[in-house]
């Protein structure tokens, strides 16, 4: 069954809205992360659905609460950015003997689904509030923040899982395999750019404008892998626990130059669940509450066949202004930043929009910042979770780690005091982001 999404009025998508009405009224407590895998091996117990159930049970246990207390769920149903099965494709044999099935067979396989979860988790018997946060976990998080602040749910699960099937993710799949092109792809897609090329194109424009180079990305990408390898839940820690070097990065296979293989995040299977509640109820949760101080949204305006540097800079600047306005803090208050990094080559657009660690610079400074100490031990921790690049493609490691950092229990805990953090995804002009605080102010 289709569940509603947040009305547009819930999204804070313009300036002048003032302090967010929900500021300090919503907190995150428990966090649950499933094991990771590179691809699905078609066993029911390793499916997207199974991983989602694991993540939810772990989050409830982590919060130290009873499943009875969960009265809401916000879920991102999409569970890939690649080419995948039709929702009505039959499930592999045996799946329906392990899990109860809903009205489309790919639920729990290539689609997240609230009804499927509730059917297969009988312990969640008091869920009344059900909403989807489409496309990105960022939307599920901002939707759940609004829902709790509006009193629509008191203890809410926020959930997103990812699947990755056998075979190539985009190449030669679907429309790309044809010798004709219909739909919007015909205006740009026929030139054959892979997914990362749009970002690479704007990164190249950025380098040309500000006198920077792809080599200057190396310290950031290497540091992200280091941070990711501290995370016991990350894909690389679990399956490829080898550090990368600057030389590895510089000799990486090109995908769309200047984007190489290390600038692309690795598709994986994984699921995350987080518990949102009120500060009052959080008093009996086992984990320290982390406050949501604001959230904001940007969407493309007038975009042509491909976005431009000017659009990405304007949109991420607006995101910075909206976030700070509603949270009542400024860039100097941030203890760290965890904006999205999959692709690595657009991280700096987010970072500069926030003016993170700026010494008065507005634009064109992030790659210089990457040459300074951006480690978790230093004064300006950049992407302390390691993000997608350091942990695999989920678009949520950075959100998760904002909660863990501010609770003081991140596996890659920053050395400076963690008081305020920011996380958001995904594109610089298509982004949903949150400001998190260790306290309500």
């Amino acid at each position: 069954m289709a569940h509603p999404i947040a009305p547009n009025s819930w999204h804070r998508n313009r300036e002048g809205l003032g302090i967010w009405e929900g500021r300090g009224k919503v907190v995150a407590t428990g966090v649950g992360t499933s094991p990771t895998a590179r691809r699905w091996d078609e066993r029911p117990e390793t499916s997207l659905g199974a991983l989602t159930i694991i993540a939810i049970r772990k989050a409830i246990e982590d919060a130290g609460i009873s499943p009875d207390e969960i009265d809401g769920i916000v879920l991102t149903p999409e569970s890939t950015t690649g080419v995948s099965n039709d929702p009505m494709s039959p499930a592999p044999e045996g799946f329906d003997q392990v899990f109860k099935m809903v009205d489309f067979p790919q639920a729990g396989i290539t689609r997240g689904d609230i009804d499927w979860i509730l059917l297969n988790m009988p312990e969640l018997k008091n869920v009344e509030f059900k909403m989807n946060g489409p496309v990105c976990m960022s939307v599920a998080l901002t939707t759940a923040a609004e829902a709790v602040s509006r009193g629509l749910t008191k203890t809410c699960l926020v959930v997103r899982g990812w699947h990755n099937l056998a075979g190539r993710y985009y190449v030669g799949q679907g429309a790309a395999a044809l010798n004709t092109s219909s739909g919007p792809g015909k205006y740009g897609g026929i030139w054959g750019m892979p997914a990362c090329a749009t970002t690479a194109m704007i990164f190249e424009e950025y380098c040309n404008k500000y006198g920077k180079s792809h080599e200057m990305m190396a310290p950031f990408v290497v540091e992200e892998r280091r941070n990711g390898l501290m995370n016991p839940d990350g894909f690389y820690t679990q399956h490829r626990p080898e550090m990368i070097t600057v030389d590895d990065y510089l000799s990486g296979r090109w995908i769309a130059k200047p984007a190489n293989i290390y600038d692309n995040d690795l598709p994986i299977q994984a699921a995350l669940a987080v518990i949102f509640t009120t500060p009052e109820l959080a008093a009996h949760h086992a984990q320290k509450p982390v406050y949501i101080l604001n959230h904001a949204q940007t969407r493309p305006e007038l975009q042509g066949v491909t976005p431009t540097l000017a659009e990405w800079e304007a949109s991420s600047d607006k995101m910075g202004r909206m976030l700070y306005e509603g949270a009542g803090i400024g860039p100097e208050d941030l203890s760290f930043e965890q904006m999205y990094d999959g692709f690595t080559l657009f991280h700096q657009f987010h970072l500069e929009g926030l003016r993170f660690a700026s010494r008065g610079e507005k634009r064109g400074y992030a790659l210089d910042l990457y040459q300074t100490d951006i480690s978790i031990e230093g004064p300006n921790p950049v992407s302390p979770s390691g993000g997608n690049s350091g942990n695999g493609r989920t678009r949520w490691w950075h959100h998760r780690d904002c909660i863990l950092q501010l609770q003081g229990r991140s596996p890659s805990q920053i050395k400076r005091k963690a008081e305020y953090g920011v996380s958001g995804a995904h594109m610089p002009n298509f982004c949903d982001a949150l400001i998190w605080g260790a306290g309500p102010d």
């Binding site: 219909s182 026929i190 090329a197 042509g304 491909t306």
Partner: protein, 137 residues
């Protein structure tokens, strides 16, 4: 380059018909005095549905560039690596088109250089599409 052949629709038939006559036309909004591409049912800025197709000079500048080594499009895989550039039209620098810049060696795309439109026949249906070459080349 063996591009996929675009299949025209009612909305963009004038654009593709003009391509087949070696003319570049772009949707124009009179009230905004603004061009837009890709084609839409109405002006993306003001909502005006009364857009006209205007022929443009076919001149532009190279805005940025990449070199594709791993294309998702099957017909182009044998051509790898190949250039893709963004072209900003002289009449409306916000209007961007893509180009393989035929004749320009990989890694040698000059950002900022002037380019002019040519029309390339796509193999599957013979439909022509805009392409670009360095001005005067």
């Amino acid at each position: 380059m063996p591009k996929q052949s675009p299949v025209p629709t009612e909305l963009d038939q004038p654009f593709y018909d003009a391509c087949n006559e070696d003319r570049l036309v772009v949707q124009h909004c009179g009230p905004c005095n603004r061009f837009q591409f890709p084609p839409r049912m109405m002006c993306a800025r003001c909502g005006n549905p009364g857009l006209t197709w205007r022929q443009v000079s076919g001149r532009g500048r190279i805005k940025s560039r990449v070199v594709v080594y791993d294309s998702p499009v099957s017909t182009l895989v044998p051509e790898q690596p190949f250039n893709v550039a963004t072209i900003a039209l002289d009449e409306e620098p916000d209007v961007i088109m893509l180009s393989h810049l035929p004749g320009v060696p990989v890694d040698q795309v000059p950002i900022g250089a002037a380019v002019e439109v040519i029309f390339e026949t796509t193999p599957a249906t013979g439909q022509k599409v805009p392409e670009w070459r360095l001005a005067g080349s």
